[in-house]
């Protein structure tokens, strides 16, 4: 079977589509956990862009950035989920529209 290479644009396009799906989920969903998972999806899409440009420029720096993004995402997930636990403990709800005490 002949080896057909993949144009690099396809990777960037996939990354843009994943990022926009994550942004849409961030906006249209009400569940706080699903909103948080949409943020993780956007971070993953950005990681794909970093690795793709690293391939384009034949350098390893993009991999390092992507690695740092992963580490920061892990820290953010730990703190964010602790915040979600606290919100649920105090208000017994997971709907973001109900957590509006800073409105007005």
């Amino acid at each position: 079977m002949p080896n057909v290479p993949v144009p690099l644009n396809y990777y960037l396009t996939l990354s843009a589509i994943l990022f926009m799906i994550g942004a849409a989920g961030f906006i249209i969903r009400r569940n706080i956990i699903t909103v948080f998972m949409s943020i993780e999806l956007m971070l993953n899409a950005v990681n794909l862009t970093f690795v793709t440009f690293s391939y384009q420029f034949r350098q390893v720096d993009g991999h390092i950035y992507s690695f740092f993004v992963m580490v920061v995402a892990a820290a953010e997930a730990a703190v964010g989920l602790a915040i979600i636990l606290t919100v649920f403990k105090n208000r017994s709800t997971l709907t973001i529209d109900d957590v509006s005490s800073m409105k007005n």
Binding site: Y11, I28, H63, M70, A78, I84, L94
Partner: protein, 166 residues
């Protein structure tokens, strides 16, 4: 062969991402997100990023998603009764999202200068050896700052999630 692999896993990633935002049960959403991360790990391998692919599976699909599933089960989050925002968001937001995707696709495919084509095994600079060399020489200071950040995150998570002592 590379193109077939890319298309299969790209379709799987997009389908899983759509499943993430369209399913109403948080457990189903979390499993869809694991699907996205797994297929992205395969795409990283195609790009020659072996270390990042392994870290993606271990850190993201392993650690972070287990944390998510743990919290979902701890909170006993079931099927949502009213998962969507007001319909005006869907009517305005849907076309906006589609327009933005179209704009990105146009910008990426028609305005960027010509780029390389990816074939597996062409770029071998993403193994653990090269990553280690870069992290411990050029990026040593960010690496150390990251460890401080993780320490702060651990302390913060413990302070936030501890039991209130009355």
């Amino acid at each position: 062969m590379d193109l077939i692999l890319f298309i299969v896993f790209a379709m799987f990633a997009v389908a899983s991402a759509l499943g993430l935002i369209l399913q109403t049960h948080p457990i189903n959403s979390a499993l869809s997100l694991i699907g996205v991360m797994g297929s992205l790990a395969v795409l990283y391998l195609l790009l020659g990023a072996e270390f990042i692919a392994a870290a993606q599976l271990v850190v993201y699909a392993g650690a972070i998603m287990v944390l998510f599933l743990f919290v979902i089960m701890l909170l006993n989050a079931g099927e949502e009764r009213n998962p969507w925002k007001a319909p005006v968001v869907a009517y305005i937001g849907g076309p906006v999202v589609i327009f933005l995707i179209g704009a990105f696709v146009y910008l990426i495919n028609f305005t960027l200068p010509p780029m390389r084509s990816v074939s597996f095994g062409d770029f071998t600079g993403g193994g653990p050896r090269e990553i280690g060399m870069a992290i411990f020489t050029k990026y040593l200071l960010p690496f150390e700052v990251t460890s401080v950040l993780i320490l702060i995150a651990i302390v913060g998570a413990m302070v936030l999630a501890r039991k209130e002592i009355d």
